[in-house]
């Protein structure tokens, strides 16, 4: 075979192999983390976990009810405030922000919102 063809094919095979390796790499982390979580955590799951509050030190009974409720309430309030605000702000940027006279006007809010995602 023409050496150029052989070289191109070799490069292609190497890159394909690397891509498969990358996918394996990513999935392996997930598998490892999930394995650790289930291996150590499954034993702790019971009805108590969802029905009782965290115990005082020294007691063996109790669950995580307060932590779970707290997460749920906090998330609901957060989404309740954030979702309409974000939706309306996004609508404004998309619909009114780009006027023909000042096409760059929306840049400040847009870059502000994108950088505030990383605070």
């Amino acid at each position: 075979m023409n050496p150029i063809y052989a070289r191109r094919r070799r490069v292609d095979i190497i890159v394909r192999f690397l891509c498969v390796a990358a996918a394996l790499f990513g999935v392996t982390w997930l598998a490892l983390i999930l394995f650790t979580l289930f291996y150590n955590g499954l034993a702790g799951i019971s009805v108590q976990l969802f029905t009782q509050n965290t115990p005082p030190p020294g007691s063996n009974e109790g669950g995580l009810l307060n932590a779970i409720t707290g997460s749920v309430i906090m998330t609901m309030i957060g989404v309740g405030i954030g979702a309409p605000l974000g939706l309306f702000a996004g609508t404004y940027l998309a619909e009114y922000g780009r006027s023909p006279a000042k096409p760059r006007r929306c840049c400040l809010p847009r870059s502000a919102t994108s950088s505030s995602a990383s605070i």
């Binding site: 191109r8 094919r9 490069v11 292609d12 890159v15 394909r16 690397l18 891509c19 498969v20 390796a21 990358a22 996918a23 790499f25 990513g26 999935v27 982390w29 997930l30 490892l32 983390i33 650790t36 979580l37 309409p84 605000l85 974000g86 939706l87 309306f88 702000a89 609508t91 404004y92 940027l93 619909e95 009114y96 922000g97 400040l108 809010p109 870059s111 502000a112 919102t113 994108s114 950088s115 505030s116 995602a117 990383s118 605070i119």
Partner: protein
């Protein structure tokens, strides 16, 4: 016919009055909607501005005390009298961990995206794509605990000694990969960060790779390109802007990540040339010290937060500028 004539008569009679009213109602609704959305957009800006202002106000005593020397002082001694605070250590740690994380995450993330869009058999795409997305759904505290209990010990006994032995005695690399191995190090934090930002790069890259018109790819395959040549010369040039956007998002996440990093970086303010030495990042320093700080120490921590804000902003702005320049070049 007669029916229609009657109807249109009625409509004409009612027409002018109703139309004016309906238009008024539309106008009112439209104006209200305009102002509501506008108020929301402005309030987003105001919230951001309020955060910056309160950071500056909180950091003011530290700014007055240390001035610009804060940026290049390496000593962090909050209990000295007067306290000596310098941001060089945390800033170094933030930049180094983010840099290493991106070095790992960009090639791997793009590789997974290429695998998912070009190589993977159809039935395997969804499960693997889902698995990568799930990585983004793991809370950072779990990454931190897992890094602390599982990954740290593993790396300290296997990977780190191997690298230290491999590069022993080589001038620059030897000091980057210098011993002793430790459970808590810059490298461990960077590796965890890389895993955390991987799904951002992958899912955005997959999304933009899918927008490449099949005709372009088929044409390239038709003239005899290999998969790699199609990806390099067709897919990536076509989607460059989107890919860089995903990388920027990932970088912003890596710079600001707090909880996972605080667990595994070791919280040492010393600057060491070795990436296997413990260090700290800005957000980790704030998280681990803020609760028991007061006075000038607290103000210094807030100043650190302000620095992180500025740092993130500049890194993202630089990335955006690069993007603009790329676009211009491509346009010419």
């Amino acid at each position: 016919m007669a029916d229609m004539a009657v109807q249109s008569d009625v409509m004409e009679a009612a027409g002018p009055y109703d139309r004016a009213r309906a238009l008024d109602a539309f106008k009112l609704g439209d104006v209200t909607f305009y102002w509501i959305t506008r108020a929301c957009a402005i309030s987003v800006l105001l919230i951001l501005g309020g955060i910056i202002l309160s950071l500056i106000a909180g950091a003011w005593p530290a700014i007055k005390q240390y001035g610009f020397a804060f940026l290049w002082t390496a000593r962090w001694a909050p209990s000295a009298d007067p306290p000596v605070l310098g941001a060089l250590g945390p800033m170094y740690g933030t930049l180094v961990t983010s840099f290493i994380a991106m070095m790992i995450a960009i090639p791997v993330g793009l590789g997974i995206a290429i695998f998912l869009t070009e190589l993977c058999p159809q039935w395997l795409r969804r499960p693997i794509g889902l698995a990568i997305e799930l990585l983004a759904g793991i809370p950072s505290i779990i990454y931190g605990m897992w890094g602390f209990f599982v990954l740290g010990p593993f790396l300290a006994y296997t990977f780190q000694p191997f690298m230290i032995k491999l590069f022993d005695g080589i001038p620059v690399l030897g000091s980057i990969f210098a011993g002793p191995p430790s459970y808590l190090s810059l490298f461990n934090a960077a590796l965890i960060l890389a895993i955390m930002v991987l799904p951002f790069i992958t899912s955005i890259s997959v999304d933009v790779f899918k927008t490449v018109p099949p005709v372009l790819k088929e044409a390239a395959y038709g003239v005899g390109c290999t998969t790699w040549e199609v990806v390099r010369n067709v897919v990536i040039p076509y989607t460059r802007v989107g890919v860089i956007g995903g990388v920027m998002l990932a970088l912003g996440r890596a710079l600001g990540e707090t909880m996972a990093v605080t667990f595994i970086i070791g919280n040492s303010f010393r600057i060491s040339s070795s990436i296997f030495a413990p260090g700290t990042t800005i957000s980790a320093a704030i998280a681990s010290e803020f609760a028991e700080s007061d006075g000038l120490h607290q103000s210094g921590l807030i100043l650190l937060g302000l620095l992180l804000f500025v740092l993130t902003f500049f890194v993202l702005a630089a990335a955006r500028l690069m993007l603009l320049r790329l676009e211009k070049k491509a346009g010419n």
